[in-house]
Amino acid sequence: MFNLPNIYYKFRRLWKAISLFFILSGPGIVVMVADNDAGGITTYAATGAKYGYHLIWFLLLLIPVAYYVQEMTVRLGAVTKRGHAEAIFAGFGAFWGWFSLLDLALVNWLTLVTEFIGMTSALMIFGIPPYLTVIIVCILMGIMVLNGRYWTWEKIALVFCAVNLIYIPAAFMVKPSVSQIVGQGLIPNLPGGLTNNLFFILMANIGTTIAPWMLFFQQSAVVDKGMKEKDIPWGRLDTLVGSVMTVVVAVFIVILMGTVFQGVEIDDAAQASRLLMGKNQYVGTFMAIGLFDAGLLGAICISLASSWAFGEVFGWAHSLNHKIREAPWFYANYFFTLITAAAVVLIPKAPLVLITLFVQVIAVTLLPAALVFLILLLNNKKTMGEYTNSLWQNVVNISIVVVIVVLSTLYGISTLFPTLFK
């Protein structure tokens, strides 16, 4: 029998839960989708072009990897009300604090340069010169932070996250074979055996899944948003939705490239866009728009991660809820990082390829430290109380961290010595 009041009550509860999710979601989705930055898009495009659908199963394994690592930042931020940089200073003293802060500033600045490289090369496909792209991006990012509200910034960032889904219709437009995707992609396999080239691609995919800035960004965003212990379940759901979204986008890029160019070597995503335009103009255009959006999302998050970290440690006002007059150092740091990174791309004959390679190497000096500190801080009963890592969480998280540290280190070393694994 239908019980109308009961159905109405359940519907109201569900609607309330969905509304609450939309209010509390944000940091997890933004950080995860921004993880598919310009470098990430290139990695997924190269994976799909070289190995077709064969490595989709491996990408799906990255959902729990990304979720478990980032979930720890939600708990740490919500319980301690401190960003990751400040938490490292307080937890491990000034030496490790300065090391993490300065290394983060360097890695973020270099990564920001690579995002600008991605954005300028994407818009050059449409005939827009790099200087114009740089000006447009700086103005856009300035407007986003200067409105004086974290909430507005986050919702604009979520719109850019939605644009990142453009790879899904692009993949459908090339009419991939569903039976081949299921047959080749969902059953774990190593195409051609575990060769050095395949190992390099697997390392690159792991390396792009967790970047140091993501830990610092999400924890600071959780604090700036004002999330409390009671909001942790929503923060977890937000992070889970974000991890699924980021891998879904990666899978659709692989499907797109695997359908059109199986067995082809791709050097960067802009090259992939141009090649795709030769096959289908709309798909190539979608790829280029996606690449620009990926670079923009990465730039939005990375520049903020640095400013938040410096603000926390130096004790400056460091919230997006502050006006520029109330937090001048926070915004000065933000614009300094942004403008200097943008300027590098415009320097004629700047060593952009070297910078792109250098990012991987410098990132592996910070990532293991940031992950180890995260695990240790989550085991500090004095500050975490009932939110301390359980035995199961420790087993899962430590296993994931060990795998990430080993593979990202090998990836960094292989960047330094390219013939080592090839």
């Binding site: 200073f89 003293g93 490790w96 090391f99 293991p368 430290a369 500090n380 500050t383 010595f417």
Partner: protein, 57 residues
């Protein structure tokens, strides 16, 4: 003006160093081993970078 800026920031850095002089995470054996691993790991990476730099010259 520059001198004021630098002296202000050096004082601030000194203040931060004093504020975080004592780590609040209990230095158990597990924590000490982790930090020692990180030190060796970083020395190894810096060594590799240095070797690469030398061989590039």
């Amino acid at each position: 003006m520059l001198r004021n800026f630098l002296s202000h920031n050096f004082a601030k850095i000194h203040q931060i160093n004093r504020k975080y002089a004592k780590p609040n995470v209990e230095m158990s054996r597990w924590v000490r081993i982790s930090l020692l691993f990180l030190r060796f790991y970083l020395i190894f990476l810096v060594g590799l970078l240095f070797y690469k730099f030398i061989t590039l010259l």
